[in-house]
């Protein structure tokens, strides 16, 4: 059975595309047939973050309109076996997506893939609803910051009212809280909302936390999903998130204390 997972947040700039790329890559690294779809029609960027921007020929809207078929539009990742990207259109607007069209594409993808990751656009309008409508599960990407937490709560409300599962009275979309751009240092100083604060406010199951890290920008600069950077703390955190998503309990990462850092190991 394939699973459709939406990566959503309401607020822009919190790390949806970074997460979509890293999470999809992580699943594929674990041997799962995975496709990641860019739903941000008009402002496509997943291709750039995944480093396949020059290989885009056909896109999601082309497939929906029958101007190209799925096989022409799917881009096979060159680094990870079993990872594919379905890019968004750069020239149309979000209204080019219809429920019927999206349903057709997803049905076709379900035949080939175990995991279908939908990278949602920011906002709470048409594009965001198209991305979440058919989802079975949702990663709610939240920064430890007031506007992001509020918008996440709004999105959680929409997941329980504006999705196929809600409309058809099916079991609800399974939600996962993913906190990104986290700085333990600032939390300890009392300058930043803690994981527990955010868990308490949003009250949805917690999946993981990704530290604020320079390696995220470096990875996107290079068009590399951060999970492929073995030295990146954020990349490692995403791999743990993937493991937990798959039902495993990854061993806690050894935190390098001051002395270990000073003297090595």
């Amino acid at each position: 059975m394939s699973k459709i997972i939406v990566v959503t947040s309401g607020k822009g700039g919190v790390g949806k595309t970074t997460t979509s790329a890293a999470f999809a890559t992580g699943l594929a690294l674990r041997g799962h047939q995975t496709v990641v779809i860019d739903f941000d029609v008009g402002l496509r960027n997943l291709d750039l973050v995944m480093g396949c921007e020059r290989r885009v020929v056909y896109d999601l809207v082309n497939v929906i309109n029958g101007e190209g078929n799925l096989n022409q539009a799917l881009i096979k990742d060159k680094r990870v076996e079993s990872l594919f990207i379905l890019p968004a259109s750069q020239t149309r607007d979000k209204d080019a997506l219809t429920l019927k069209g999206v349903a057709r594409v997803l049905e076709a993808l379900k035949k080939r893939f175990e995991y279908i990751i939908c990278d949602s656009p920011a906002g709470i309008e048409h594009g965001a609803i198209m991305a979440m409508y058919f989802s079975d599960e949702a990663l709610i990407v939240t920064n430890p910051e007031v506007s992001s937490v509020r918008d996440s709560d709004r999105i959680i409300g929409m997941l329980s009212s504006k999705t196929r599962r809600a409309v058809q009275n099916l079991p609800p979309v399974k939600e996962h809280l993913l906190i990104t751009r986290y700085s333990s240092k600032r939390v300890n100083k009392g300058d930043m909302l803690s994981v527990d604060d955010i868990k308490e406010i949003l009250a949805i199951p917690f999946l993981g936390v990704i530290p604020e890290s320079p390696s995220v920008l470096q990875a996107s600069n290079a068009g590399l999903p951060v999970t492929l950077d073995e030295k990146s703390d954020a990349g490692q955190a995403y791999l743990d998130v993937v493991a937990r998503f798959l039902g495993e309990e990854p061993p806690p990462r050894e935190k390098k204390g001051f002395l270990t850092r000073l003297f090595g190991k």
């Binding site: 937490v149 509020r150 409300g157 100083k189």
Partner: protein, 89 residues
């Protein structure tokens, strides 16, 4: 000015994360309440049932009763306004 800010610095400052959490708890609870279908949906039903109860004793029309909810600060006011028809005795 200099002295004032010196004393201000001595006061224990509330950490901003704590302020953020409190503000979020209030606004999120408020917004959840507003979008809760139960909040929006029960008013017409309440109105209909009230009419039925009152009709056992007095003849009134649907226009004679107005039910409304208003939020003021931390509390809500349920306002029920029943206009009795003019007595015809």
């Amino acid at each position: 000015m200099g002295i004032l800010s010196y004393f201000r610095a001595l006061q224990p400052q509330k950490k901003t994360a704590k302020v953020a959490k409190e503000r979020l708890q209030i606004i999120v609870a408020h917004e959840r309440h507003l979008r809760d279908p139960a909040t929006v949906d029960y008013l017409p039903l309440l109105q209909r049932e009230l009419i039925e109860v009152i009709r056992k004793y007095i003849v009134i029309n649907e226009e004679n009763i107005k039910v409304n909810i208003e939020k003021e600060g931390d509390y809500e006011i349920l306002e029920v306004n029943i206009t009795l028809p003019e007595a015809n005795h």
